[in-house]
Amino acid sequence: MLIPHPLLGLRDAQEFTYLGDARLIDRPDGMAEGAEAAFAEYVYLRDNPAGVHRELWFHEQGDRSWLIVTRDTVTHEILGAELARNVALAANGGEA
């Protein structure tokens, strides 16, 4: 399996480690109202789709960047990859 790294091109999936659902980057605010319920959901509840899934991969034997890879869990086809950093920055309006 090859992963299209946004900076380095096609790279062997063996260089990467897999973390899971890309929603893990949307960590709830631990100090907010209802944080306990939000964290219970964040830690334990995952969608498990048969089809297109966005997931976090770490380029461990590479440039050590986190990627969000879009993969079809039925066919294992990789549909795209983007730097998780860019996704997180865009979600926070450019604030790190």
């Binding site: 062997d12 590479g62 440039d63 960047s65 950093r85 790190a96």
Partner: protein, 188 residues
């Protein structure tokens, strides 16, 4: 003061150097290394007149060279300066950047070929899952090699540097030696 005897990463008094048909593998014990990382929203520096390379690339300046190791991060190489405080000098040329000394953390093996690029490509094809066709001179990357994490730097058509953690020097040397030995009989 205690009389200490310096040894190389392979435990010898002189750097290893061996020939295998068209290939020569030699330990580069004289190279100083330092990593350079940009801080957030910092401008791109040009330490010692060096143009810091793009992702996956290596570039050479006057007596120093650099390769990309990650977003906003590079490794700077300085030939023959392993015994100097190179990181301190680099820091004076790159104000505001994060510099760390790396010289003794790595061991560098230089593979050279006297028959053009074919033996170098044959070595790479045996050892790493990197597209050798697109890994031409001026390319550099980190990848896995026999479960070791290594940096590869293609310095020229006929020259490839492989570096790994110093504590893994013997393992890498063994792998390179075995592979070069097995390739020796094959037509280049």
């Amino acid at each position: 003061m205690t009389d200490l005897t310096p040894i190389t990463a392979l435990g010898a008094s002189a750097p290893a150097d061996q020939h295998f048909g068209p290939l020569r593998i030699s330990e580069n014990a004289d190279m100083a290394l330092a990593s350079l990382a940009l801080r957030r929203a910092a401008d791109m520096p040009a330490p010692m007149g060096l143009e810091l390379p793009a992702p996956g690339k290596w570039s050479q300046g006057q007596g120093v060279a650099a390769f990309w190791t990650g977003p906003d991060q590079w490794m700077i190489e300085a030939e023959t300066r392993a015994t100097e405080d190179f990181a301190a000098e680099l820091a004076s040329h790159a104000p505001g950047c994060s510099i760390t000394e790396q010289t003794d953390a790595w061991t560098v093996f230089e593979i050279t070929s006297d028959r053009g690029d074919a033996p170098i490509r044959a070595m790479m094809e045996k050892l790493v899952n990197i597209d050798t066709g697109s890994f031409g001179p001026g390319s550099a990357t980190r990848t896995g090699l026999h479960h070791l994490s290594v940096f590869l730097v293609r310095r020229a058509e006929d020259r490839l540097a492989v570096m790994t953690m110093r504590s893994m020097a013997r393992d890498l040397w063994h792998v390179l030696q075995e592979t070069a030995r097995r390739l020796k009989g094959e037509p280049a």
